[in-house]
Symmetry: C2
Subunit: 301 residues, 2 copies
C-alpha cells in the first residue's frame, strides 16, 4: 500500500504549498483522493501515470478539495483517454463538471460516471474482488465524507514444499488456496494447515478530511493500519478549530488513540505555522506513531 | 504600460508551463486577462498584489483560459477582500462561478459583478477617464473575444519655465492643460503652445487569443503599440492550426504587418515544439518587431 501526498495544506494554493490531493495505490488500483487546484501538475511532478487513475473520490465541495477536478477531466480528454473514469463525491459534483464541459463545448472521449453521495450513513461506494471502499460520514461546514479503503483477505498461499512432498495434483490447488482440506486418491486426508500459508493480512487506510473533532467516527476506523486525519490547527487555536469545524493535531491524535490505529498521518495544515513539526510534537503527547504528510512525499505501508 | 505574462502555453498546465493568464498595468489599473488553472499561484510568484485586481477579462470558456477563475474568486474571499470585482466574459461565466460558490456554501465578502458578453460585434466593456476597453470579436471553436486596451489622450503638461516667465496665475493652469490660450490681466494673449507640452501619446494593447488566422480583426487593432497574437503552431502545422482554429507564428506576424502595429508579442505555444525561439524565427519573415512571451516575464512598453 503506497500513499503519495500531492497536496496537504489548507485553503488556497501558494507558491510552495498545494491544497488537498493524494494518491493511494492499493492492490492493482491507483485511487485519487480529493483534487485541489493544480492537482494535475502535482501528478506530473510525482510521475504518476494519468491513465492509471480510474476512480476519484472527493470528500466535499470546498475549493481546496475539488477545484482541480475539471482541469483533470479536461486533460484526460486532451490525452485521448478511452478508459472509463468514475467520480465519487457529494451531490452537485456532476452539475459542476458537466456545466463547464457544456459551456466549453467539450465532451469526453471516455466514459465519465458520477456516483453522487448524499447519505448521512456510511455506505459502500466501490467494491471488487480485492478492495472495498466505504464512506466515513464527517462533520464539517458542508456535507463531507471521509473514505475507508480496505483490502479484502486474499487466498491462502500454497506451500511449495508440501506440494512436492505429497505430490499434490494441480486440480487440488484452488481448493487448498480456498482453505479446504483435501483427500488424496489413496484416501489420505491432508489438513489445509499442512499445505498452505496464511494470506498476507489485509491492509486498510482511512482518509478523514475535513472534520471537526468527532469521536463518532471511531467505530468506522477501528484498528486501521493508517489513518490520515486532518490537523488544520494546533491546540493554541482550538477555539478557531471548533468554529471552522476543523481539528487540532492533538484532537487528531486522540481519535487515532481511541480507534487503536497503527499509524497516524497528519495533514491539511494551516499555513499560519512556521514549522509543520509542531503538529507532530503536539500529537505525540496523545499517540506514539505519528507521521507528517508533506507535498510530494510518498509513504509505503 | 507594463505586461506580465503569468502563463502563455496552450492546453493543459504542466510542470514548467502555465496556461493563459496575463496582467496589464495601464494607467492606474491592474487588469487580469484570462485565468487558466493555478493563475493565483503565478500571481503570487510575480508578486502582484491580489487586492489591486478589480477587473478580470476572460476571452472564452475553454479551460486553459478560465479554470483558475473560481480559485481566485475564492481566495479573494479568504483574504477578506472588500473591494468590488468585475468579471467580463462570455455568457455562462456567471453560472459557472455562482454554481460552485453555492455548492460550497461560500459567498463573497465583496461585490462580485459579472458582465456577460454575447455580441458578435465589438463593444466597449469598460471605460473611465483614462482607459477604454473594447472587445475584439475573434473566430475560434467557441464564442471568443480579444480585448483592446486604449489609454485616452491625457491633459497637456504645463511648461514650468513658461509659467515662471509669464508669471501665470494658478487659476489658469487647468485651462492651459485643457489646451486653451489665455489672456493675462494686461490683455496679453498667450498661445497655448507657448505654455504647455503635448501629452504623452496614449498607448494601446490588443490581446488576441485564441483565434484562427482572420484578417477581419485588422481594423480593430490598426496601429496599436503592442499586439499579443496567439501562435499555437508553426507553419509546418498550418493545417492543424486551421482545423483547431488556431494560428501559426507566420499568420500572427501577417496580421501584425497588415495592422501596422508597433510590436508583436507571440504566445499560446503548443508544447510540442522544442524551443519557442522557432516561433520568433518564423514570424520575423513577415514582421520585424517580434517579442516572445514566456511565463513570469515582464515587458515595459
Amino acid at each position: 500500500m503506497k500513499l503519495t501526498i500531492l497536496g496537504c495544506y489548507a485553503a488556497t494554493p501558494r507558491t510552495l504549498t498545494n491544497p488537498t490531493a493524494q494518491v493511494l495505490e492499493i492492490k492493482n488500483h491507483v485511487f485519487l483522493i480529493d483534487c485541489g487546484e493544480a492537482t494535475q501538475v502535482q501528478l506530473r511532478k510525482s510521475k504518476i501515470k494519468f491513465s492509471k487513475i480510474e476512480h476519484i473520490f472527493i470528500s466535499h465541495l470546498h475549493g481546496d478539495h475539488v477545484y482541480g477536478l475539471i482541469g483533470l477531466v479536461s486533460t484526460f480528454m486532451l490525452l485521448n483517454r478511452t478508459a472509463d473514469l468514475h467520480i465519487y463525491g457529494p451531490k452537485g459534483i456532476k452539475e459542476i463538471i458537466t456545466l463547464q464541459l457544456r459551456l466549453s463545448n467539450s465532451w469526453t472521449s471516455y466514459g465519465l460516471f458520477f456516483h453522487e453521495l448524499e447519505s448521512a450513513e456510511s455506505q459502500v461506494v466501490f467494491e471488487d474482488d480485492k478492495v472495498l471502499v466505504k464512506t466515513i460520514p464527517l462533520k464539517h461546514r458542508i456535507y463531507t465524507n471521509g473514505f475507508l479503503f480496505e483490502e479484502k483477505i486474499g487466498e491462502k498461499k500454497l506451500n511449495p514444499y508440501a506440494m512436492q512432498q505429497y505430490q499434490i495434483p494441480v486440480y487440488h490447488f484452488q481448493n487448498i488456496k480456498n482453505g479446504k482440506d483435501i483427500t488424496l486418491e489413496d484416501g489420505t486426508v491432508l489438513a489445509n494447515s499442512l499445505l498452505a500459508f496464511e494470506p498476507n493480512p489485509p491492509k486498510s487506510y482511512a482518509f478523514c478530511s475535513d472534520t471537526v473533532y468527532d469521536e463518532s467516527i471511531v467505530p468506522y476506523i477501528k484498528g486501521v493500519d493508517v489513518l490520515y486525519h486532518e490537523s488544520t490547527f494546533l491546540e493554541s487555536e482550538a477555539e478557531l478549530a471548533t468554529k471552522t469545524m476543523h481539528s487540532t493535531a492533538r484532537q487528531a491524535a486522540t481519535v487515532a488513540r481511541l480507534a487503536g490505529v497503527k499509524q497516524l498521518v497528519l495533514g491539511h495544515y494551516s499555513t499560519r505555522y512556521d514549522r509543520i513539526e509542531r503538529f507532530r510534537d503536539e500529537a505525540l503527547a496523545e499517540f506514539p506513531e505519528v507521521l507528517l504528510a508533506n507535498d510530494g512525499e510518498t509513504f509505503n505501508f
